[in-house]
Symmetry: C2
């Protein structure tokens, strides 16, 4: 059995997640070796009977179907251990074993802001989400949301309107678009961004899968912005997950007469950053700059340490890798791909570093994902 | 010279404030002794030449006028050292030497909430201020504000509408009502509450006197609630003063599209408590209950200690004085004056304690400032 087929088999195994996968893949050497091992070896590795039984008769038809689904060039399967598996997501204690992707897998590792909120927002709430997403996406942040109606839809649409990138995390298999009314939007996102799901193809909408999906929205992102939300709502679950994952939570306040402002107000009372303008988000991301330079986030108890004093507008002195990247970047607009070739850095590293360099005023972004060095004499 | 005339003389002395008054009154024994001492004694006490020169030729005509103004029974002059001088105001490093009062001097020492905000609020902002003031005044809090147009006016009016008590701190002499359009409101406040000023009679509106007036608004109050305010505004000055005085700051959020919400949002970012309902204010005052039982506030650095854990609905066990007050209070509606007679406690102590007992569910308030013991069997 080849490695892809073996990984697809594991992705459909009940209760199989990254926390189990890591040690087992290390022990057996590969997914293929794991999947084709005799029951005695599997039992010796501590694998439970349910999983052993599954591996003895895997769902061959579904896996064949998965392979067929993966044939077009925009389809991807990103399993634990793959270079495309996003580092921020890997930090989660309950990280998924694999993601099914339609679109650009590089987006998984790009600096993302999650935007979530009510399915029935006020007209102003929708406009606010659209406006923030457009502006933030133009500034180089990937806007991640859940393809739901309301704020999710406005956020995805805003990012697309800004010619920016957007990532939709689905609570269904990627061949089952939900809600159906967003099928056209989903196609646009697949073409200009990425659709992502941990749920195998064919998974229909299940109520309990949507809160699970939320941990991936927040887990892929540097922070989660809540636009309008009731006090009892999925958006507040996502915000809580973001906080538990050690990520930033941002919330937009509203009139005390707007019931959909109450969720945001609750978050602000609990310590979420009050956001009036996109600059409020960049300010916080700027403060996170030192953090983005390291591969992992500090645990949540150390949040206060995550806000280094920024002296002056130029930010802290640049690390060596940043100097290399700046040297690789000329005063001609240049894309991430070329910078990857020139520097030997990974695409996600280059993208994160460019965002930081832009926030610190060292580079300017141009339409079409191109960057130029800022003229220091200006 | 009698003591009142001497105190009125000192109140008009340039630069004379409570910080100077305290040691001097102690040294000379009385205001009359101080005012009639020869220049050599005054110089020996460290009094500067300007004040000595003033005391040699005090403005006799103005002081005569002050005495005439004080003749009606609703006029009062409350100098440093008087039993009516409010304890919370006495904590200020720049406390005024004296207050001119029209109305009920007892209000000076009642538990107060300052309500401030824009002079040009939105219609919703005015309604919000009016609604909060009505409800809070009904619950027994005295609403303190500055008699300005806009939020101040709405707050005073709301308190009056709730048959509650309200106190207006003026930036002019009390014989010079400003703004003139609030003359009728000022008369109502004098009749149902109190007009207060540190500025001698005849002081016209001076731009620089209004920020000084603000420190008295916040200084008389347990906390300051900002309803709608621009980022650069007198309301934010009052909030800063409240914070510096170690008092609570409350702010009502609003739409990010409302420029008058920005001042409130700034305060919330700086740590002000976000207020959606009157209960949010009572919750904080409840947490302050332990503090109110002591005569002084903790310094600002110790703010975290000011929020004891409240276990259950009944609050912490009652101190002895509270037991005495509860015993003095029957199941017949009873006013503060009678409780003062029965307990030997001061009126301001009784009022503070009743507020706490009400918050803790031990007493109920009735219209007209009457209280009854809550039936513990209910």
């Amino acid at each position: 059995m080849d490695e892809l087929t073996a990984s697809l088999t594991l992705a459909r195994a009940p209760g199989f997640h990254a926390g189990i996968a890591g040690p087992l893949l290390q022990r057996f050497g590969s997914a293929a070796a794991l999947v084709s091992s005799p029951p005695s070896s599997l039992r010796g590795a501590g694998i439970d009977d349910k999983l052993i039984a599954y591996l003895q008769s895997p769902p061959a038809r579904e896996i064949e179907n998965d392979l067929r689904w993966l044939e077009p060039s925009d389809r991807h399967f990103v399993a634990w251990g793959s270079e495309h598996y996003p580092r921020l997501l890997a930090e989660l204690s309950d990280a998924p074993f694999a993601l099914y992707v339609r679109g650009d897998t590089n987006l998984l590792s790009m600096p993302q802001l999650a935007m979530v909120g009510a399915r029935n927002p006020t007209p102003t709430g929708s406009e606010t989400a659209h406006g923030f997403a457009t502006h933030l996406a133009r500034c180089g942040l990937t806007i991640t949301s859940g393809l739901a109606v309301g704020i999710d839809t406005a956020s995805h649409r805003g990012a697309l309107a800004g010619q920016g990138q957007t990532l939709a995390v689905c609570g269904t298999g990627l061949d089952v678009i939900y809600p159906r009314g967003n099928a056209t939007l989903a196609e646009k996102i697949a073409a200009q961004g990425a659709l992502v799901s941990e749920f195998p193809l064919g998974t229909p909408p299940h109520k309990h899968n949507f809160p699970r999906r939320n941990r991936i929205i927040s887990g892929l992102s540097l922070g989660t912005l809540v636009v309008e939300a009731a006090v009892q709502s999925g958006s507040l679950i996502t915000a809580r997950l973001a906080s538990e994952q050690g990520r930033e939570v941002f919330a937009i306040p509203g009139s005390i007469h707007n019931p959909l402002a109450r969720g945001c107000h609750r978050l602000i009372r609990q310590g979420a950053k009050l956001v009036e303008t996109a600059d409020d988000i960049f300010e916080e991301l700027h403060a996170l700059a030192g953090l983005l330079r390291t591969p992992t986030f500090l645990p949540q108890d150390d949040r206060s340490r995550r806000k280094p004093e920024i002296s002056g507008d130029s930010g802290p002195p640049l690390d060596k890798e940043y100097e290399i990247l700046l040297d690789a970047l000329g005063f001609e607009p240049t894309g991430v791909d070329l910078l990857v070739v020139r520097t030997g850095l990974r695409a996600d590293e280059v993208a994160s570093m460019l965002l930081i360099l832009e926030l610190e005023g060292h580079v300017l972004s141009h339409p079409g994902g191109l960057y130029v060095r800022a003229d220091p004499r200006q």
